[in-house]
Symmetry: C2
Subunit: 209 residues, 2 copies
Amino acid sequence: MPKTVDRDEQRRQIGAALLQLVAERGLDEVSVRTVAAATGRSPGAVQKYFSTKDEMLTFAAELAGERVERRMAGVDSALPLRQALRELILTTLPVDAERRAEATAQLAFAVRAAHHPGLAAIRRQVDQDIRQALAGWLESAGHTTHATAVADAVIALSDGLALRMLYTPQEHEHLLAALDRSLDALIPGPGPEPPYSSAGASSCSASRR
Amino acid sequence: MPKTVDRDEQRRQIGAALLQLVAERGLDEVSVRTVAAATGRSPGAVQKYFSTKDEMLTFAAELAGERVERRMAGVDSALPLRQALRELILTTLPVDAERRAEATAQLAFAVRAAHHPGLAAIRRQVDQDIRQALAGWLESAGHTTHATAVADAVIALSDGLALRMLYTPQEHEHLLAALDRSLDALIPGPGPEPPYSSAGASSCSASRR
DNA sequence: ATCTTTGAGATACAGTCGTATTCTAAAGGC
DNA sequence: GCCTTTAGAATACGACTGTATCTCAAAGAT
C-alpha cells in the first residue's frame, strides 16, 4: 500500500473551503480552480477527490445541510418553546461573520436548487428533517394543532429574514424586531403576554397559557 | 437623422428577455450571448443598448423591482387587510408559471446582491418601498403598533415561502397553509373576522378555505 | 440623389471554464 | 533493496466568457 490519506477528511476539507468561498465571493466565483487555490491545492489535486464539479457542489451542499441539522440538535431542548425557537433561528441568521457565511451558502444553494434537481433533493431532505423536528418541539410544548404549518411558517420566516439580512446589514435591528413580533404572534405564551394591541379577541393568544 | 428606434423600449425588451432567461435556466446561464439569442438579436446588437453585462443585469433588476411595486399598487386597497395581504403575497409566490418566473428572478437577484453592491442598493430600495406601503396598510387598518415590524415579518414570510416553493413544488399546499396560519397570527381580525374564519371561534381554527 | 449617422451583425481577442491526460515523487508491502 | 500504488502537480484541450473593433445596410436630412 502506497501513500494513504483519509479521503473523507480531505473531501470535507475541500467542501468546507468551498462553502467559505461561497460565503466570501458568491457561488458564481466557485470554480475547480478557485476552490483548489482556497485549499492550497492544485486543481488536479481536487480532481482526485471530486471527479466532477457538480459532485463537489453536491457534497458541499450536503455538508452545509448537516451543519444546520447539527446546530438544530444542539439547541437546549429544555428551554421554553419560544426561547428555543428564537435561539434556533438566531443560529441561522447572518448576525456575525460565521453565521453570515453559513446563511450565504445556504441561500445560494437554495436558489440554485431551483434549476438543479440534485441540489433540490438535498434541500428538500434538510427541510423535511427540520420541519419534523420543529413540529415535534411544537407538539411536545402543547401546540398540538397545525404544528407542521407553524413549523413551515417558522422556516419561511427564518429564510426570509436571512435573505434580506444578506444585503441589508443596516437593518438587522429592525429585522430582529420583526422576528420577535412574529414569534410572539405564532407562539402564544408562556410568560408575560406579548404587548399586542387589538381589542380583546386577539386571535390565537388564548390557546395555551 | 438615420434609422431610429425607441431605445428605452429596446432596453426593456432585452431586460424582459433576461428575466425570462433567469427564470427558465438560472442566473448563471445569463450571458450576453444567451440573452442576445433569447431576443433574436446578435450579441453585438445587445451591446448597443448595454455596453456592459453588469449594466444589463442592473437594468433587469430594476425592471423586476418595478414589476413588484406595480403589482403591489394593483391590489385592491378597499379589501380587508388580511385579504389584501394574502392577495399581495400570492402574487409574489411561484404558484403558476408566470409568478414562478418572477419569483425565481427576484430571489436570484437577492442572493447575488449579497456580493454585488449595486444590486443590493436596488433591492434595498424596493424593500423599503414595499415596507412603507405595507406599514401604511397596517396603520390605516388600525394596526398602529409595530406596523413596520409586522410589515418586515410579512416580507420575510413571503420571501421565505417563495424560496422554498422554488425547489419544492410538491409542498405548495402545505406552504400555503403555513401562510394562512401566519397571517391569522400576525393580523388579529380587524373587527369583523375575515371570511376565512370559521364562525365566531378563534381564528386559530381558520385555515385556507 | 447624396451624405451622414445609426442599428445591427460579424469577427477578434485574451481570459476562464470544466475536464482529460500525463508526469513526478513518495510511501507502504515484499 | 526494489516495486507498486497512490497523491499531487502540471499541462492540454475545446468551449465559453466579456468586451473591443470593424463592416455593412438602411433611413432621415439636406
